[in-house]
C-alpha cells in the first residue's frame, strides 16, 4: 500500500492497529472501572446545594420586572405605552390617567399609569420593554426564582412592581442597566442628563 505516491495536499490516515491488549478488552474494562472508582472516592462534588447556596446571578440577567421610582418616590412611568407597544408577548396592560394637577406632589407630571399590569407568565423576558421605555421606568431585575400558586398571583400590578423596585434597591441588586437619576433621556433637563451613573447598589436616588 505504501508504494502508491500519495498526494501531498491530502492527509492520509490509516486505521490504528488492534493490539492484543485491545482485543482482550480486560485492560480497557479495568481502566474504565478505575476511572469510575477514582471519581467515586475523590469526594469532590460539583453540585450546588441550591436552596441553601444561591447561585451568583449576573446583574444583566433578565428576570422579574420592576417599575422604578423617581427621586420623590413616585412611579417614574409616564404612561407612554411604548413598552406595551414593543412587547412581543402582549403581556403589558396600562391604563393612563392625567396626573392630579392640584396635588403639589404631582404638579410637575402630566400623565401617570392608573393601572400597570404585567402578566409574568406570558412574558418571555426579552427585555424589549425596558429598551423601549424613554424614561427608564421599567427594568428587568436579576430575580429568577419567581413562584406563585395561581395564575392570578402571577399578574403583577403597579404596586407589586414598585415593591420589586424597593426590594432590589434595598438588597443592592440593581440591574446593570440602571444608569441615570431622574426621568431618562426623553424627559431630563440638560443638567441632570450629564449626571454620572449612580454607584452600584445605590438605586435611583444616588
Amino acid at each position: 500500500m505504501s508504494n502508491v505516491k500519495k498526494e501531498k495536499t491530502v492527509k492520509w490516515g490509516e486505521e490504528p492497529k488492534l493490539s492484543i491488549l485491545d482485543a482482550l478488552y480486560l485492560p480497557a474494562i479495568a481502566s474504565g472501572v478505575a476511572t469510575a472508582i477514582r471519581h467515586a472516592v475523590s469526594g469532590k462534588a460539583t453540585t450546588r446545594q441550591y436552596p441553601e447556596v444561591e447561585p451568583e446571578i449576573p446583574p444583566n440577567y433578565r428576570g422579574v420586572h420592576r417599575l422604578n421610582r423617581d427621586e420623590e418616590g413616585r412611579v417614574k412611568c409616564v404612561a407612554c405605552y411604548m413598552c406595551q407597544t414593543a412587547c412581543p408577548a402582549n403581556c403589558i396592560e396600562i391604563i393612563a390617567a392625567p396626573a392630579p394637577k392640584d396635588d403639589p406632589h404631582w404638579k410637575d407630571r402630566d400623565k401617570y399609569p392608573a393601572t400597570f399590569t404585567i402578566d409574568e407568565l406570558r412574558c418571555i423576558y426579552c427585555g424589549m420593554c425596558e429598551e423601549a421605555c424613554p424614561v427608564d421606568a421599567i427594568e428587568l431585575t436579576s430575580i429568577y426564582d419567581l413562584t406563585g400558586l395561581s395564575r392570578q398571583e402571577m399578574i403583577f400590578d403597579r404596586e407589586k412592581l414598585l415593591s420589586v423596585f424597593d426590594e432590589t434597591v434595598k438588597s443592592g441588586k440593581d440591574p446593570v442597566r440602571t444608569h441615570r437619576g431622574v426621568l431618562g433621556p426623553a424627559s431630563e433637563t440638560a443638567a441632570t442628563a450629564k449626571q454620572a451613573p449612580p454607584p452600584p447598589g445605590r438605586g435611583r436616588r444616588g
Binding site: M1, E15, L18, L24, I29, A36, H39, S42, A45
Partner: protein, 396 residues
Amino acid sequence: MWVWLKESWPILWPTLAAIGVILAVVPLLGLYMTFIERKLAAYVQDRIGPNRVGPFGLLQAVADGIKIFLKEQVIPDHVYTTLYFLAPAMSLMTAMFALVVMPFGPVPTDYEGGFRFVVQPGNDIGILFMMAISSLSAYGIIVGGWASNNKYSIYGAIRSCAQFISYEIPLGLSIIGVIAITGSLNIEKIVEAQSGSILDWNVCWQPLALLIFFTAALAETNRLPFDLPECEQELVGGFHTEYSGIKFVLFFLAEYTHIVTVSFLTALLFFGGWHFPGLPNPTGGTTLGMILGLAVLLFKVSMVVLFIILLRWALPRFRFDQLMGLAWKGLIPMGLVHLVGVAIVLSLGLPKHLLILTAALPIAAAYYSSVKFNASMGRWNALESGVRKTSAVSYE
C-alpha cells in the same frame, strides 16, 4: 393436625423462619439497592445524590417506596389484560424462587434443628435448580413485552429472549468445571470444598470460569453493559414501557433480586462463600463462628454488588451483534475448551491447580482476533490504495 404440627415443628420453624427472612429482606434490599445505586452513580459522576430525606438521604428509599405504592395504576387499553398483570408477578416469583436453595449465611453441616441460613438445606440439585428457575425469569419479560402490545416492548422482549438463550450456555459451561471437580451440585458442598487456604477458592484455579460466569450472569441480570432489553435510547423503556406503579416495582424488584442472586452465587461458587483464611470454619455450629461467617459472606456479596453497580458507570452498552458475538464466538468456545481442560485434569488425576493454565485461553483468543483484525485492515488499506491508483490513472 395439631399433633402433626407439634411433631414437625422443630423441622418446620427453621424453614418458615428462613422464608420469612427472605420475604422480608429481599424487598427491603431492593429498595436500598436503588438508593445505593443512585448514591454511587452520583459519586462516580461527581455529584452528591439523594441527601434530603433523613440523615444522608437514608430515608429516600422509604420515600420512593411509599411514592411508588401510592402511584396511579395506568393500564393502557390496548394491552392483553390477563398476561399484562401476570408478567410482573411471574418475573418476581421466579426471581424469588431461585433463592430457595441459596444459602445466605453459613449452613451447619448437620441439618438438624436450629435456624439455618437457607430455606432448603442440603439440596443435592441445588445449583441445577437455581439455573433452571432463573432461566424461567425470561418468561416474565417475554410475557410482559408481548402483553404490552407495543413495538418497543416486544423488541425489548425479543432481545431479552435471544440474550437469555445465548448466555444460558456459557453460564452453564462455566460452572460445570466447578461442579465436576467438587463432584456435587450441592451448593453447601461446593463451598465446603473451598474451606482450606485462599488457594482453594475456585477463583484461584479457575479464573477463566469466573470470567465467563460473571459475564454471562451479568447478561442474565439485564444489567449494563448488557441491558439491551431495556435500553432507554433505543426502546423507550424496553419490556416495561407500559408498566407503571406497583407493577413496575415488581419488575424492578425482580431485577435487583437477580443481582443479589448473582452476587451470592459469585461469592459462593468462586470466592469461598463464608470461608476466610484464618477464621474458624463456621459450619461447626458455634454462634460466634456463625456470625463471623455471615459477616464474611455478606461482605463478599456486597463487594460483588458494588462492583456490578460500578460497572454500569464504567462501561458503554454493547451493540446487539457484539452481544451475540461475545456469547457465541467468545464465551461459548472458551467455556468448551475450559471444560475439556477440566475433563483432562479429572481423568488423568492431575492436580486441579493446573487448570489455571486455561487463563491463557482469552489471551490466545485476543491475540488471534487482533491478528485477524489487523490482517483484514491491511487488506482493506491495500484495496483502498489500489482503487486510488487506478482512479488516479483513469483521471490523468
